[in-house]
Amino acid sequence: MLHFTPLKTAATLLTALFICLCAVPNFLPEETVKNWPKWAQRHIVLGLDLQGGSHILLEVDSEAVRKEKLQALLDDVRRVLRDARIGYTGLSVRGNAVEVRLREGTDQQQALAKLRDLSQPLTGMLAATGQRSLEVTDVGNGLFRLTPTPPAILERIRQAVEQSIQIIERRVNELGTVEPLIQRQGIDRILVQVPGLQDPTRLKELLGKTAKLDFRLVDATVTPQQAQQSGAPADAEILLGAKQREPYVIKKSVAVSGGDLTDAQPGFDQRSGEPVVNFRFNSNGARRFAQITQENVGRPFAIVLDNQVISAPVIREPIIGGSGQISGGFTVQEANDLSILLRAGALPAPLTIIEERTVGPGLGQDSIEKGKLASYVGSALVIVFMLVTYGLFGLFANIAVAINVAMIFGILSLLNATLTLPGIAGIVLTVGIAVDSNVLIYERIREEVRAGRTPINAMDAGFARALATILDSNITTFIAAAVLFYIGTGPVRGFAVTLGIGILTTVFTAFTLTRLIVAYWVRWRRPQRVPI
């Protein structure tokens, strides 16, 4: 056990040295490290509870995605049947399917074939080979039901999440913050982490709005009061104003879509001086806009944002240039925010905030200080205790534990792992546990000495017998750490990571470093007795 070939020695020392060096980038300033190769730059990331910042978990409204898909399917069915000149008497969304009833005497087979054509093979990751996006069933009596398959819906949700992530990125970047982290979580969730952000109120407002902007005509056939009493006409609906909540009757069909906007900038109205949003359309939108304004001079034209009416100005003259102004009693901030939202694009589905954790920088800094202090005190206590209990061998153990901790930092750096306050607690705990390995070895050696073995044999036997126990006992804590990593989030996960890595390095140093130090000391000193 105490025999170390030069090769083994070199391998052990070099591995330990390399891993310890990996921890170095954490302590050097940015400029020095900038020019090193990428792999050498890897460093520990401070968790939000140490850095300060916001963590926001958003969920995509899957229900809305499903409804939208069914509505799109309904439009497709209408188009297909009209093109094929197949008459139908009923077409609606029912439950999670679109139902269509064909007129008597129509060619059912042809209709079925055309409808089946709408179903496409799925290519996304979630689909098994050969799966299709639609299930078309002939219920009988000319009634057909088209149901999107579950994988198709999942695929649509996945696309919605991807789109949302891009739009969120654009919106968050407007805040001018430090590199935010935006990633999907699970099937329908998005995690947004913005380090250094203190007041997430504005961020939440930017994320919470779908920002779907439409230009629609006002329905003048009834007054809002009449519509509220007896219902709106079939092709219109009642929408409320954004600020004053007064009712409007707005046509359902979209005249010009906000998707055709190419730019939106905050500004001030020439005459009244109030904050407004100046916008510009692409050629498609500009054409539509010109057409609608030409046909409807003198009529009110509503600007609808997320189903609320921002304003409904009367069209005074046709607007051919494709640019215009939105005013709705905005404050400067509101005009600014609306411009950001319009530039970034509308979210495909509403996002709900389901979890939010924000830590201010004051608390973050405090936590770092406390973490450091506890580490120093804890380590000092353990070091002193080991020296007092085992003397020289205590010193060996302390050296081994010190290298152990350096290796933990090194591995954390290589993994770009996140260090949280519980993570620091994990490191302090590891110091307490790492010492145990050495204690097991030393106590075993003492027993062997008492049993009558010679010093060298006692040390040899001590290491041999103790190492199996060390392995066994640490594995159980490792299993606990692994489970915790799997089920934990955020700070707790940080704890699991440092604990788990700490156990690995502890076992490594017990098997190699402590043995190495003792072996070389024996060779150098040739002791007559074991000094513990």
Binding site: L363, L373, A374, G378, G432, V439, L484, F495
Partner: protein, 307 residues
């Protein structure tokens, strides 16, 4: 140089004698712990119950809890709690989950911000909606059970089934007592508490395995020694290691408890109880003697003692 010897060599305590006392005591304590859990309840944090947690620091002078309470009381937030948190300037505001789904939680935070205005510095804001809190709770429970099961299977591979069973009984008993303690002291029970429980489980087993390892070695060597004597010998021989390691872990935890600050206070307090107090006791007084009751060492009459 004279080294510190906390435990003298060749101790010969008769630990097994106490098993007739320790088992009933443990059974009673466990029942008390379970009763505490059901009747006194755990102080579930927002991680598991949903709701809002706001930590504020008053910018000038000390926090006037009474005034804050009446200010917040007028906001229609339902149940909420205020408590001092660390220094006289720090206040922890806990608001229970608002009815109305995820959006209502956000509205509550906005109301509080508006009410308290500029007088305070917001150190930390945490909002957990109903969906996430439900998930965290089930993950936490599943995690604990998964850990217990995996460790049991691992022990079964390494030792015989009696050892695995003995270890699990002893260590689940640890968890039960720790949960009882958390209920009694009304320590915040959140995700970090699950971390503490899992660590206590892992670390206590650490201890138990060391003793079992020695017992297994002695079973092989001393085929004729009666079980109580063998168990005593095993524990006595590992006693100094156990004590020394417990001292070092206690020192590390003590540093965390005294200097680690309020943020991890509930975590370290739980660990202290579970690892230091309970873990030691169960490894010696439950995990070892239980082997007798599980029938370890019977049928060993044949064979001679090795020396």
């Amino acid at each position: 140089m004279r080294l510190l010897r906390i435990v003298p060599d060749d101790t010969k305590f008769d630990f097994m004698r106490f098993r007739r006392i320790s088992f009933p005591i443990s059974a009673v304590l466990s029942i008390i712990a379970i009763a505490l859990y059901f009747f006194h309840g755990l102080n579930f944090g927002i991680d598991f119950r949903g709701g809002t947690l706001i930590e504020v620091r008053v910018k000038a002078g000390e926090a006037d809890l009474g005034k804050m309470r009446s200010t917040l009381g007028g906001l229609g937030l339902g149940e909420f709690q205020l408590q001092q948190f660390g220094s006289p300037q720090d206040v922890l505001i806990r608001i229970s989950q608002q009815p109305g789904g995820e959006l209502a939680q956000q509205a509550a935070v906005a109301k509080v911000r508006q009410a308290l205005g500029d007088e305070v510095e917001y150190r930390r804001v945490e909002v957990v909606g109903p969906r996430v809190s439900g998930e965290l709770l089930s993950y936490g429970v599943i995690g604990l059970m998964l850990a217990i099961a995996s460790i049991f299977i691992y022990l079964w591979f390494r030792f015989e089934w009696q050892f695995a069973l003995g270890a699990m009984i002893a260590n689940v008993h640890d968890l039960v007592l720790t949960i009882g303690f958390m209920s009694l002291a009304q320590i915040d029970f959140d995700l970090t508490s699950i971390a503490a429980l899992l660590t206590i489980l892992g670390y206590s087993l650490n201890d138990t395995v060391v003793i079992y390892d020695r017992i297994r070695e002695m079973l092989r060597r001393y085929k004729k020694m009666p079980m109580p004597d063998l168990l005593n010998a095993s524990i006595n021989s590992t006693l100094s290691r156990s004590v020394i390691t417990h001292v070092t872990v206690t020192l590390a935890l003590l540093a965390l408890l005294l200097f680690g600050g309020q943020a991890i206070h509930s975590f370290t307090a739980t660990m202290m109880f579970g690892v230091v107090l309970v873990g030691t006791y169960t490894s010696i007084f439950i995990a070892a003697p239980i082997l007798i009751y599980l029938g370890v060492g019977l049928g060993r009459e044949f064979g001679r003692d090795e020396t």
